[in-house]
Symmetry: C2
Subunit: 347 residues, 2 copies
């Protein structure tokens, strides 16, 4: 019933360009479904994986975790899915189901299976994937496949912390880094009623940032402009991968404010700054700030996020490319030239 061979694109070793790669399609476990991939977004985390930044991946590595496709086969116990359904799949492809976090329906915090378990064995830059049917989400009626694909990671990365912490219409939210995640975070924060500032090192992104819903735009490398918003934000969502001036950023938070990290940008907090004055650690403590990590969301979060995005017309700005051009797409992402998300399409 299933095609016996899956065609994908894999890095043979860390840092290598992706190459065509085939593997034997696995048989389905009872709760699994097989999905013929139609679209897969390219995320900076794919670069982290390809380059093996965290030393946790196996090679050959076939990445891709912003997947949309059609169900082609369902396991005996995979309820709720029919062959032909269009579904979205993100980082998480399974969970243990038994730990306290799974029992609390916080499956993305599963203690036994890290939530990058979609890649078992391989990801979405391919003709098909197999996942636990509980982690495949039906698309809201009328939502474009490209939109749903990008929401599967970029959307679920930014929506839960915004919903949790951007409370009330007077909440002043800063979105740091206006890329794949950031341009969606602006839209979500705006739809949640917050006063939204986009912070970017690229002055050229102002017009688009305002179009996405930003009320204000600040060039994050302009120290004078940053000083002008001292003690301004209740909440900062940091989607940037590096080049952060943590002292300036923390100074832009109001007392008891919160900086949420959703991207893996190294953090250095010293008590004394490079100029001999008080460093960012002093602000963190004296202003009683918090730095909070946020990593995707539960299944309930994912369903809520999809519904919210559909209701409020939240739409990523997507550049589509055939999946065979995966290395061109990766280059655009590496060079921060994607505007704002590249989605690979199986034609």
């Amino acid at each position: 019933m299933s095609p016996s061979t899956v065609l994908g694109y894999a890095a043979p070793a860390p840092g290598q360009p992706l190459e065509p790669f085939t593997y034997q399609a696995p048989d389905l476990e009872d709760q699994e479904i097989r999905v013929s991939v139609t679209h897969c977004g390219v995320c900076f985390t794919d670069i982290h994986a390809i380059d093996d930044h965290f030393g946790v991946f196996s090679f050959p590595l076939l990445p891709g975790h912003e997947i949309v496709g059609r169900v082609t086969e369902t396991g005996k116990a995979a309820s709720g899915h029919e062959v032909g359904d269009l579904v979205g799949i993100g980082w998480q492809g399974r969970c243990c189901g038994g730990c306290e976090w799974c029992e609390a329906e916080q499956e993305h915090l599963c203690q036994e299976i890290p939530s990058c378990g979609t890649w078992t064995p391989y990801g979405g830059f391919a003709s098909e994937v197999v996942v636990d049917g509980r982690f495949a989400y039906p698309l809201p009626a009328g939502m474009a496949a490209e939109t749903a694909a990008v929401l599967m990671c970029a959307g679920i990365a930014v929506y839960p912390p915004l919903r949790l912490f951007a409370t009330g219409p007077s909440c002043r939210v800063g979105i740091v880094g206006i890329g794949g995640l950031g341009h969606l975070a602006i839209q979500f924060a705006h739809a949640l009623g917050a006063d939204v500032t986009a912070l970017s090192s690229s002055p050229g992104k102002e017009v688009e940032a305002r179009r996405f819903g930003a009320d204000h735009f600040v060039v994050s490398t302009d120290r004078e402009a940053m000083a002008g918003i001292e003690y301004g934000f209740d909440l900062l969502i940091c989607t940037a991968h590096g080049g952060i001036d943590w002292g300036t950023l923390l100074m832009s938070l109001r007392r008891t404010g919160r900086l949420v990290l959703v991207a893996f940008s190294p953090v250095h907090l010293e008590a004394a700054g490079g100029d001999g004055g008080a460093g960012p650690l002093v602000d963190l403590i004296a202003h009683e700030l918090s730095i909070t990590g946020s990593f995707l969301g539960s299944r309930a979060d994912m369903r809520e996020m999809l519904g919210f995005a559909q209701e409020h017309g939240i739409t990523p700005q997507v550049e589509s490319m055939p999946m065979s051009r995966v290395n061109d797409a990766i280059r655009l992402v590496r060079e921060n030239r994607a505007r704002y998300r590249v989605v690979l399409v199986n034609e």
Copy 2:
């Protein structure tokens, strides 16, 4: 009415030993009181100040912010104080009264006057101090002066975050660093009903840590012992000044756990660890942890803390020395040899 000259001990320049130092006693503003110092604790933050680690202090610097003394004069509008009353005074000696934080009775977060405003111009290693009477706290009946002195900084540094975050009897709390703050934090956490683990680089502190109320003791530099408590703590209170292995520490937190920083220990979070594997930043994000700064407390916090300490018999272990031996006391604190707090006494 007031003696015209104050005798104290001041550092003439950053990093210098303290020297006898006199200054003209200031006249009182309406809301101020004059306090004849009987006791003053020595805190590691005094070392930070003497060494001008943060570049924010003026010299000559006369430190000391764990003060107990007797009221000798009251300003016209300094209600609630009588000459002869025994009062405690901490870091904060005044606030603006008009900013949103003062209006919300979170005076320690005052936006106009940093809460180290006690030193205006000089601190408690002296014969007397002058402060706004609102920041002088009557001692609970029967509380020893040495105890109250230490609670003025070490106590108020650890009590508010414990009361806020160590909720419920099943809360597993780790206290990192068993010194002046840590040995009080163990007592407060125990009295709040938490399951308390003391983490120290000094194996020799186990017996005393258990006497303070620790249910468990772990040598924080013993990687094997630390690995044994993986995902163990709901809350960590870090009172250590340095030598922290952030990766190991964050790994000891349960998902969604919180690390509270109350001491100025530099924080480095990298996405990749030194061994090429995933670093502490990955845990912070993937486990949705928080790092929160906590800095002393409001006037209401201070009153509550004093009452709680009195009710639960929380008592710092104090070594008393005459104030003339201030440099010996500072040396003990610098060398981490204080067990657990040195209090200077004016004889």
